[in-house]
Symmetry: C2
Subunit: 719 residues, 2 copies
């Protein structure tokens, strides 16, 4: 462990460096550039004449270093780190337990409801001293408060009358890394896995610490290191030692390690003949395995499991239910406070009449059968992270079971590594959706945070977009999605606008002439991709396997519900998937108010039109266009939106360092190409059914349908 | 191309940053820290009162920027960049063609023999001005001279009486990247491939430019982008466009792009039914393909080919010779000045009596049959990059054919990503070896540089150790091997000591108390690995497939000459491969003076003893020890040497930044573990044959032989 303490100073050296250094994006939103506004700078300097951080745990040490480095940067001068107040004004940080000064402020009544992770920020006077106080019940609360205070300064907020309390709405805020042991990352577009398993446990890359610190800065408190398409090897001794070394590195930042459990592990690495969850030998094996893990990682968070899905083994192999499978694992980790996150993303080997219905059909009947420490991890929508999906019908349908949200941060279907897609609007769309489970106001967010049904246990997961790329996320703007996930996981009531503004201020500049146009560009960016890939409720039209680029022609040479034609159902009559009572009736899985509204193509939100309805090409839309024209206009609008993004960005050159400006500019150029590729391929392909012309005034497709169908990109990242 | 010009400024921002930035190793040996010696600093500042670089080609722009950035750093003040001399003293750089001032110095007689890449560095007086002159016949000569001058300052050399000419001894100095299109790197231990093929040609990572610049700084002028185990796809249009974008990025640095040609490409991507090199259709296909490549890359360097080896297709599939195969490709690129580098690393599908003999047997008879633009690329030794091999018997044996050297920079058999092995002594050992082809003085180096037989065409290749790791090469000290390869490729007469000292001064510090001990540590480092892995001429004892760790027990479940037992031939009687007349007689492939000396175990250099002789365990060595004891002592000595390296390094803390100090310290700790692993595993395994005790006074093995044989490292990088 000595090694790790040495590394603390290194970490900060690595992360913080002078502004003259190339802006390669490594610093993320923790840049701490000097405050430009002179009067604000003066205020801040006065308020922080000295800084006192109480305590000396590893977590407190992180808070202290963060304040020292952060304020040195923001104030443009060396801040005085003291152990007691000697000046007129000071920043003090601590808990009532580790600081008499904090205890003397009598904050207990306001602090105690804030729990283990909450904090107060307070401007107050104490014995003639002006104090800015960061107070928490725990050291990690103090660290979270530290990042909040620094964010206020980074975004040029006033601090003279601070009086706020804050705590997370969701208990477990977790990144899911789909990282394989060979360092490839499934659906990873930012290089390779951060985890250099081969050199662990001996070598702790400083980047592991930078990663943990960035997560702490946005309140992420858990990380699943390995792919849900799991490899049982990670549960063997050599890999547990490696995982433990990562857990040690992350611990000061409040970041817990979780692992994916391959259901057949007892056979693959345990030498058993079965993995039947009711078999006593299997149960004992998992019990012993959990104990072994807790020996290595005393605060191990628990297991994430993908079972009976896409070829992964599971309890169905033994004619057991998901509940029986999950409960076995839950029993193994319960004594140490571990949880099991059991994914609802399942579908059987046989092609169902509608894949969208399957998770609901399998899991709803199990409501009430799961152990208290089991969470069902549900993707935001019922298909698979499409650019737009209606919320998953399981939300609100399993009142006795804590359901956790699984968002995808990595842009599998949203332009992968090179497209600018700010995802807060997409996450918010789902979180704010009305389930009507208990009448109006029963939002998905309330299901997830546990408040709707009064669950104590709550969690949210985001499939990571982080890799070895120097800027962590391939696209500089993809950093905003990591940031957004953390911020919304902490407080889902934040608006997309607020988060974008925070992130832009911290990552680029506080200049309004930059923030306003770029924020608007971000807010429109996801819709642009919806438009040029899958407008009006279309979905699952991407290229085979790598999911890069368009593939609306992918047909049933393959398993039907992995094809595109299964989902768009285009024919000479029309297009769309009838999920109303005349079709698969997936709509029946939703509450009656939704059924009523969505069953009628005139009242359904137009963005879900073809998700639920198969309509004729000449169906007259609310806009007055026939469906064909309306769809084509959407595809063209998507491309236009990308070009508008290019126009906006090109004007931002004065506000952005050359390196990031050019990087984003190049990526937008790539996005424009890909948008045209999508638009042309889809419009030309669907035209073979509609037999209708592209409306007048729109530019010609760049190439023929044959050309687009002949493209065969190879070695696409992320498979 | 506009994009690339924008990037130039970025490049320098990326590469050069203040000393306060974390020393993560990214800057390699181009750190340009301020000169510490005050009187030297004063001298340098006076001499470089202003800097004038003539010309404005992309290459000249690079030289100008390098001088500006380099001198700003080294002198600790902004250097004055002028267009004509206005001060008393100046640095001037240019060619007689682009500068009247340079032309007026009448250097032509000394310049003209220096060719396209040579340069002069000269201190002179001109019209009462004190000038330091960098003069070349070409812009690239000026750039190379620029790096030389900067190196002199970095290493604190005097510059007041400069008067030197310099040119490379070898024409083509080439890195071989064994990089696959999916970004994995065969035998790569420093992360993944630098080439982000998916985002090419649109996105030019600034790292590509940093890579080219680093190569230029040590005179490397070519790079083979792709693995010798070749993928024909790289010859298709999409990939040629990508390769062309890299070539454009590299061009200003004098770095040419080469590609690997898969022999069966005409069938795989050309739709032909054969790849027979005498088939007119095949010949026409390659001709057209070469023309296509030259359209994309006008200065394309040519092809590197691995044929009829380890499963790669080749002319033998059609009962043609290597010469017929190579000549077909040579004809395709000849008109544009391209070359074909045809590897001699071949062995047939059938296990030969001695794999060491095969390349010689196949290639020597073909001497004289190759086109003028074919080079035969020969590994330093006849087996495969072992920690020590005698020089390859082909050197000196094919007088009518230019033979080029293939060294391995990546440490496949030398501790991979975590061991400290300075390879100059290994390269020098081969280059300085006497072939006696034309009597004494007929060194391998003279074969390679063409001087022995008067070949104009000459080349040298190094299998790259470069990857996406932030410090480029995984181990900070592995940077020295990239550096060494470049320096020796330029001038093989440089000593290992000189190169180590240069590199240490530039990469760490000029302090003697650092350089002397660390240089001695570097000079011993490769021998340490020989000792703890394969002492006394043992070879090929490593783990299966990944080659990580020991595997002396690997036996003939597999193809015999891929096993370990094939090479060590240990039995109850003794150990070693008899390659004398009583055995495989591979020794007969060498010149008579070598045969004579090596055939006798008493006169053969002891480091090759068991390469050529099978000897009894109680054979009495020159040292007085019996063979078993002598071998065991060597294994233990290897571990002791690693511990001595640790001892030395631990004393270097005052001289090294914390980040690199700790990094190297951790890696040495890993190396110590691996050294013990190798030592114990080999000694315990061979003891099962010798039935003799480990000599008294040596520490006990840490684990049993069964333990070591049971280790099964998974997901080792570089396969």
């Amino acid at each position: 462990m000595k090694k790790r303490i040495y590394s603390l100073t290194l970490l900060f050296i690595t992360f913080i460096f002078p502004a003259s250094y190339a802006e390669d994006g490594y610093r993320l939103w923790l840049r701490y550039e000097k405050v430009e506004n002179p009067s604000l700078l003066k205020n801040y300097r006065e308020a922080f004449s000295e800084v006192i951080v109480f305590g000396n745990s590893p977590t407190v040490t992180m808070a202290k270093e963060e304040l020292r480095i952060g304020l040195n940067g923001l104030l443009g001068e060396q801040v005085l780190m003291s152990t007691s107040t000697t000046k007129e004004s000071a920043l003090v940080a601590g808990t009532p337990l580790n600081s008499e000064l904090i205890a003397s402020l009598n904050l207990d009544k306001r602090l105690s409801p804030l729990g283990d992770e909450g904090y107060m920020l307070l401007s107050t006077k104490n014995k003639d001293k002006n104090l800015i106080v960061i107070a928490g019940n725990t050291d990690i609360g103090v660290l979270y408060g530290t990042f909040h205070l620094l964010r206020l300064i980074q975004t040029n907020e006033p601090i003279h009358s601070l009086n706020l309390v804050n705590k997370p709405k969701i208990q477990h805020r977790i990144l899911n890394h789909w990282d394989n042991l060979d360092r490839t990352v499934e659906r990873g577009y930012a290089g390779f896995s951060l985890w250099d398993w081969h050199k662990l446990p001996d070598y702790i890359d400083t980047r592991y610490l930078d990663y943990a610190r960035a997560n702490a800065s946005i309140g992420i408190n858990g990380t699943v290191l390995t792919n849900v398409n799991a490899n049982a090897l990670v549960l063997t001794e050599p890999y547990l030692k490696k995982a433990a070394a990562l857990a040690d590195a992350f611990r000061p930042y409040g970041l817990k390690v979780y692992l994916t459990a391959r259901f057949s592990a007892p056979m693959e690495i345990g030498g058993l003949k079965t993995a039947d969850p009711l078999d006593p030998g299997v149960r004992a094996w998992w019990q012993a395995k959990a104990e072994e893990i807790y020996n290595y990682i005393p605060d191990f968070g628990g297991f994430l499991v993908k079972a009976d899905s896409e070829g992964q083994p599971g309890p169905h192999n033994y004619k057991r239910t998901h509940a029986e499978g999950a409960n076995m694992l839950a029993d193994a980790v319960a004594a140490k406070g571990g949880v099991v996150m059991w994914r609802a993303f399942v579908y059987s080997h046989e092609t169902p009449d509608d894949r969208a219905k399957q998770a609901y059909n399998e899991f709803k009947p199990l409501d009430g059968q799961f152990r208290d420490n089991v969470l069902i991890q549900v993707k935001n929508g019922a298909i698979d992270f499409q650019p737009r999906e209606p919320f998953h019908p399981l939300f609100g349908a399993m009142p006795e079971t804590p359901l956790m949200m699984e968002f995808q941060i990595t842009q599998e279907y949203l332009g992968q590594g090179t497209n600018l897609a700010y995802l807060a609007p997409m996450y918010k769309e789902t979180l704010d959706a009305e389930t009507y489970a208990k009448g109006k106001g029963s939002t998905v967010a309330k299901v997830v945070d546990g408040s709707l049904e009064g669950h104590q246990l709550s969690a949210i997961a985001g499939v990571s977009n982080i890799g070895t790329d120097r800027n962590w996320t391939s696209h500089h703007f993809a950093q905003s999605n990591w940031y957004t996930f953390g911020r919304l996981a902490w407080d889902h009531s934040l608006s997309s606008e607020t988060i974008a503004e925070e992130w832009l201020s911290m990552t680029f500049t506080n200049e309004r002439e930059f923030i306003d146009p770029v924020k608007s560009m971000m807010l429109d960016s996801r819709e642009a991709i919806v438009n040029f890939t899958t407008p009006l409720g279309l979905h699952h039209l991407m290229g085979w396997s790598h999911h890069y680029g368009p593939g609306p022609w992918i047909d049933n040479k393959h398993r039907a519900d992995w094809t595109s034609v299964y989902y768009h159902r285009a024919d000479s009559a029309g297009i769309g998937f009838d999920r109303t009572a005349t079709g698969s009736n997936a709509l029946a899985q939703y509450s009656p108010p939704i059924q009523e509204k969505f069953s009628n193509p005139k009242t359904i939100p137009q963005e879900f039109l073809l998700w639920f309805h198969h309509l004729p090409w000449d169906y007259r839309m609310a806009s007055g266009n026939i469906l064909w024209d309306g769809m084509v206009y959407k595809y063209y609008e998507g491309v236009d939106q990308v070009r508008e993004m290019q126009r906006i960005w090109n004007q931002m050159e004065p506000f952005v360092d050359a390196e990031r400006f050019e990087h984003v500019q190049t990526f937008l150029m790539i996005q424009e190409k890909e948008a045209v590729w999508w638009r042309d391929a889809c419009v030309l392909y669907f035209q073979t059914f509609s037999k209708r012309p592209i409306p007048a005034g729109l530019e010609e497709p760049r190439h023929s349908l044959e050309y687009y169908m002949g493209l065969n990109p190879r070695y696409v990242p992320g498979i």
